[in-house]
Amino acid sequence: MNKHIRAFVVPVIAVVVFLAFWEWLVWFNGWPRFKMAAPSDLPPAFERHWPLFLSMGWQTLWRTVVGLFLAVLFGTLLGMIMGFSRTMRDALYPLLVGFNAIPKATVVPIVALMFVGQHDFNTVLLAFMISFFPIAVSVSIGLSTLEPEYRDILRSLGASQATIFWKIALPKTLPEFFGALKVAVTLAFIGTNLMEIVSPHGRGLGALFDSGRTNSDFPLMFAVLIALAFLGIVLYYIVVALEKIFAGWAERAPG
């Protein structure tokens, strides 16, 4: 079989088989819609609430992206500080690990209570808090593990620290950075939805999901999950595309 056709056809068949099994399972058990949704229930659910999906999907999307953007800025800065200064690394690392260990669901009520009514801010804040950690760690590791010879090559010519950072340290860290960004993009998405679901305020796909839950509207809940998966995939592949552009050199040529 042609390689390209196989790369396309095999996954499609797998998805179809999965959906068919799901449909069969619901049909075979005779589950009603307030107990479980079948794939055939999803298109009507999307159709019924389409304007809501659009507006709330947009809210979820932009808040995730803004949170992620802040996480990239802050995480990179923190990573640089820890990567360049041994003292700062020793000081910040335990704090960072401790902060990361706190399940973010428990932070939601605190944040919601602290900034009552500022839903956009709250949501962005949570997306940010949950996603900056891998970026900070990867940048700091990337910088601190730079082989001394790389530094020496430029330093022996009288290059400044800033030049060494721009010409060598930064580009060399990019593959690790993008690896972390792929994790962070998924995490930021979780953060946004945590805030939207745990502290509902009528905005975002999380709120739509919550209203489905209140009504035991399984088709709506599953439709929201599909929409979330779709947005997550889109964001992920945007990161992959950026990685190809900026760190494509790190990819080994096949063979």
Partner: protein, 284 residues
């Protein structure tokens, strides 16, 4: 102030210029690293001088501070005691008249070979135009046999080819001192011999004053005019061997009686440096 002297005596004289001042002068250098267990002396009263256009190989037991020596010459660190002079000036910090190549070629993976070679010119002020710089890089690459690889990435090259590219990068800004820290150490024997010959070809066309750190005694007498044996840690200058045949050599020169005798002397000296020699053993 530094660049005024560049190129003055580099015009082709590869022999030991009579009466000329030494280009590299290492005087009574002592250095110790601070460790948890107290200071660890690595260099103790090192004396090395290299005349303009000379090529000195430094050999010694592992861990005797040879790499520290390269960092001192490059101005990347300061000795605790003693002085390093280049071109009649005391070394106080990094100087752009130095080129370096290490065992690890440290090419930047995200740049093409040509762009890698051009890297030093982005740091060092240069009179060359962009076009001239590129022409020079292409010339150097062809000199080491990398013609046609200018636009490849380092990951597409073999270890020996990467080391050749690294050599071009060390030479692009016309340094008058070339510091080679075991540049061929990680290569297989045949590739290494190939690169030795390349070195002679390069030195004929692009004269420099060289310091070569190596573990390979054959390499030292094949490339250098003078071989300095360092003692075990803390390292002193233990023995200096003048290699009679200066200038380009062929591999056959390594299989002569003279070469065998030199290698024997060096081997004996290394054994003394390692502290496990008896007079009889070394001469065997």
């Amino acid at each position: 102030m530094v660049s005024d002297q560049r190129g003055v005596g580099c015009a082709g004289d590869t022999g030991f210029g009579g009466g000329m001042q030494n280009l590299i002068e290492i005087k009574g250098v002592k250095h110790a690293y601070q460790t948890d267990a107290g200071p660890l002396p690595v260099l103790d009263g090192l004396e090395i001088s290299v005349p303009e256009g000379g090529f000195v190989a430094v050999v010694g037991p592992s861990g005797c501070g040879k790499s520290t020596l390269t960092r001192l010459i490059a101005g990347l660190m300061k000795p605790d005691e003693g002085e390093v002079w280049l071109h009649g000036e005391k070394v106080k910090g990094p100087r752009s008249t130095v080129g370096m190549a290490f065992q690890n070629p440290v090419l930047l993976e995200w740049r093409t070979i040509l762009k890698n070679v051009l890297l030093p010119l982005e740091i060092v002020p240069s009179k060359l135009s962009r076009k001239q710089a590129e022409d020079r890089a292409r010339f150097l690459l062809s000199l080491v046999g990398l013609e046609g690889f200018e636009d490849k990435r380092p990951s597409e090259l073999s270890g020996g080819m990467r080391q050749r590219a690294s050599l071009c990068r060390a030479l692009i800004h016309q340094p008058d001192v070339l510091i080679l820290d075991e540049p061929f150490g990680a290569l297989d024997a045949f590739t290494r011999e190939d690169l030795w010959q390349t070195m002679h070809r390069v030195k004929e066309r692009e004269p420099f004053t060289g310091v070569l750190i190596t573990h390979d005694l054959r390499e030292s007498i094949f490339l250098a005019d003078q071989v300095v044996v360092l003692s075990g840690r803390p390292a002193r200058t233990q023995y200096v061997l003048d290699v009679p045949s200066s200038g380009p050599r062929t591999l056959e020169d390594l299989y002569t009686a003279v070469a065998a005798e030199q290698l024997n002397i060096l081997r004996h000296q290394i054994q003394i440096a390692q502290g496990r020699s008896t007079a009889g053993e070394g001469a065997a």
